[in-house]
C-alpha cells in the first residue's frame, strides 16, 4: 500500500494559516474561561462582607443608671452562601445622658473582661481597669477599648469593631 501523505500538498503558508486558526480558537476559548474564572474567584474576596455597621444594643431606658451592664450584640458577616451571626459582649455605662460603650474583649489577649464592685478585671492574666476603663495594672497594654455608639430615638446602637491586641495604641484590627 502506498502511503501518500496528501497534506504534503499543503503549502507551508497554508499549513501555517491553518495552525494559526487552531491557535486562535483555543486561545479564544481559554480567554473566555479564564476571565470568567478569574472574576468568579476574585470578586467575592473583594466584596464588603459586613452587614450593616451599627447593631442594636437595646432601648436606652433599659440601661440602668451608673452601674455597668453587659450586653450581647449580634455581629453579622456575609461570607458566601451564609450570613454568619455571632454574639459579642460589650459593657455599657450610663451616667445621665452620658453613655459609654466598651468592648468586653481584653486588649491583652482577648479574654472577656468582667466587672468588679469598682471597676473591671480580666480573669485570664489579671489585668485591671477603673470604672471608667482606665488601665490600672496587669499585662494589658492599654485601657479598655471604647466603641462608637449613637442613639437613635431612644435606641442605643453600637459599631462593633475588633482592635489589635497587645499594642499600647488602640488600633483597628484589619
Amino acid at each position: 500500500m502506498t502511503t501518500e501523505m496528501t497534506d504534503e500538498e499543503l503549502s507551508p503558508d497554508r499549513r501555517r494559516f491553518l495552525g494559526a486558526l487552531i491557535g486562535l480558537i483555543s486561545s479564544g476559548i481559554t480567554t473566555v474561561l479564564g476571565v470568567t474564572i478569574g472574576r468568579y474567584t476574585i470578586a467575592p474576596a473583594l466584596s464588603n462582607t459586613n452587614v450593616g455597621e451599627w447593631t442594636d444594643v437595646g432601648l436606652l431606658e433599659e440601661i440602668p443608671e451608673g452601674k455597668p451592664v453587659k450586653r450581647n450584640v449580634v455581629v453579622s458577616q456575609d461570607s458566601g452562601w451564609g450570613r454568619f451571626n455571632s454574639q459579642r459582649l460589650v459593657w455599657v455605662i450610663r451616667k445621665g445622658e452620658q453613655v459609654t460603650v466598651f468592648s468586653a474583649a481584653c486588649p491583652h489577649l482577648g479574654c472577656t473582661i468582667n466587672e468588679t464592685s469598682n471597676g473591671f478585671i480580666c480573669p485570664c492574666h489579671g489585668s485591671a481597669w477603673s470604672a471608667d476603663g482606665e488601665r490600672l495594672g496587669g499585662p494589658t497594654p492599654r485601657g479598655m477599648d471604647m466603641l462608637d455608639h449613637r442613639v437613635e430615638g431612644d435606641l442605643l446602637k453600637v459599631k462593633y469593631q475588633y482592635f489589635k491586641q497587645g499594642v499600647a495604641e488602640k488600633e483597628e484590627a484589619g
Binding site: 500500500m1 502506498t2 502511503t3 501518500e4 501523505m5 496528501t6 497534506d7 504534503e8 499543503l10 499549513r15 491553518l18 495552525g19 486558526l21 487552531i22 480558537i25 483555543s26 479564544g28 476559548i29 473566555v32 474561561l33 476571565v35 470568567t36 474564572i37 478569574g38 472574576r39 468568579y40 474567584t41 470578586a43 467575592p44 442594636d56 432601648l59 450581647n72 449580634v74 456575609d78 458566601g80 452562601w81 451564609g82 450570613r83 454568619f84 451571626n85 455571632s86 454574639q87 437613635e152 430615638g153 431612644d154 435606641l155
Partner: protein, 579 residues
Amino acid sequence: MSVTTPRRNKIYVWLDERAGIGRLIGGALDEPIRGGARWAYVFGSALVFLFSLQVVTGIFLAMYYVPSSDHAHASVAYIQKAVSGGALLRGLHYYGASAMIMIIVAHISQTFLYGAYKGKRELVWIVGGALLLIVLGFAFTGYLLPWDQDAYFGTKVGTSIAGEIPLVGPLQQRIMLGGSEITSLTLSRFFMVHVFLLPLSLAILVVVHIYLFRKAGPAGPFHSKADHRVERFYPRQLLKDFVFVLVVFIVLIALAHFIPARLGPQADPTSDFLARPAWYFLPLFELLKYFPGKLSLIPTVVLPAVLFGVIFLLPFFDRRGERHPLRRPVASAALVFTLTGAIGLIVLSKYQDRANPEYSAKLKQQDEEAIAFMKSPFQPQEIGRSIPTAPPTVVSNPLEAGSTPQKIFFANCANCHGTSAEGGTLGPSLVNLERRRKLTADFLANWIAGHGREPSADSMPRFRQLTEGEREELAEWLLKVDKPLAQPETNPQPGRDGEAPAAFVASCAFCHGDRGEGNIGPSLAGITSKPNRGPEELLRMLSNSRAFGLKDPMPESFPDLSDKDKQAIVEWLSRLKSQ
C-alpha cells in the same frame, strides 16, 4: 523530518533535548488518517474538550459548593445568583453534561455505523463502552448535588429504579443511598463519586482509550474501494475538530447565558413534588410505565443488559470484515431502531405529561415555583443565631384576647416572640420594630410569608398558612406595637381523656396545636401512618430535628426532652390516628 516540527528556536531545542517534546508533539499530531480529514471524526476530540471543560468548571464550582444537605442548596444558589461569573460557570457545567451525553451517543453511533470497531479494535470499543457507563454515572450523581426539588425527587426516582432489580436491588439501593432514604449521607456519597472517583476513572480510561486507538490506527472510511490517500491529523483534521469544539462551546455559552441553568426551591422531602428524571433517563422511565410489576425487570435489567452486552461483546461476534452500513442491514437497523426508540420514548413521555391535565398543571406550577426562585434575589443562609433555652410559655386560650391582628399574633408569633412581644424563647423582641429597624409593612408581610428567604433550623418558619390579608394586617399592626403587650389570661384546661401528655403541651402544642391538630406546624393526626414517620422515625426526629432534612425544620434545640417524655409523645401520637 516531521513537517509539524515548529521552527527550531532555542527554547524548543533546549526542551526537546531534555524532554523529547519533538517526538511527543510529532506523535500526537502526525497520526496518519486513511482517507483524509472528515467531519465525521470530530466527536472524539469534542468529548475530550467537554471532559476538560467539566473538570475545569467543576473544580471551580467546588470552590463555593458545600456537599451537605444543610448548605448545598444555599451554596448553589449563591453560585448561581450572587457570584460574578457563577451563573456562566454553572451553566457550562450543567449544559456541558447534557452535551457530553449527546456527543458520546453520536461518537458511538458513528463508530458503529462505520464499523470502526472491526479489525483488532475490540479493546478500543470495549473501553469506549465503559466510558459511556462512567459518563452516565457522572450525570446521575451530579444531578443530586444542587439539592433542589428536581434533584431530590429525580434522584429518588432514579434510585428506586435501581431498587427494582430483583435480589440485589434493595441492598444495592441501600448501599448507594447510605441508608434507606436520600439524606445528607447520600449527598456526601454522590459528591465523592462525582468529584473524585469518576473523574479519576474517566481520566485513566480516556488515556487508555486514546492509546489503544492510536495503536490500532483510525479505521478510515467504510467504502471498500482502496483509498490510498492518507493525511496527517495536523492540521486539517485538528482544525475540523477545533471548529466543532468552538461551535459546541458557543452553544453552551449561549444556553448558559439565555436560559440560566435551572435551580428550584430547596428539596423538601415532605412535599408532593411530581418527580421527573433528567432527559437522558426518560426513555427508561417511560418504558417502566409499560412493564408493571414483575415485568419491570425487562426495562430495568434485561434491556440495559442487552444494550451493554451488545456493546461489550459486539466485536467478538461480528467478525466479518464488511464495514459499509448498507451492507450490514441488521446492525444499521438496530442502531436506527435504538436511537429513534430512545428519542421516541422521550417525546412520548413529554407528550403524556402534557396530555394529562393533572400532571401538566402540577408540572407547570413546579416550573413557576422554580422560575420564581430563580428570580428572587440571593438570600444568605442565617447561621448561628443564638437560641436561648427557657421553656416556652404556654397560653391555652389565646384567641380570646384583643383585636384581630393581636389574635393572629398570639396564635402564631407569641410562642417564639413572647406573649408580650418583648422577645421570648426563640425570637427577638418585636416591640418598637418600626423605630428600631425602620421596617416597612410590605417588607414585614413578605418576611412573615417567607418570600425570598430560606428558613433554616435557626430562622423563623414561613407563615404561609396565614392569608395574604392576614399577613398584611399583622404587619401593619406589629409595626405600631410600641410597648409590651398586655398578657392574655392563662386558662389551662387540664385532664381530659386522651389529652396530650404534659411534655407535648409544653414543647409541641404551640406549633402543632393543643391536640396535634396543627397550627404553625402541620397537623400530626395520623402522622405515624405516613411513610417515614413511624414511631421510631419520630423518636429520631425528636432527638434531632434535622434528621430528615425538612425544608421548614422544627427549631433546632427543644428544651431537652427525656427519653420517657419522647416515648410518651410518640405513643400518644400513634393513638391520634385511631381517634
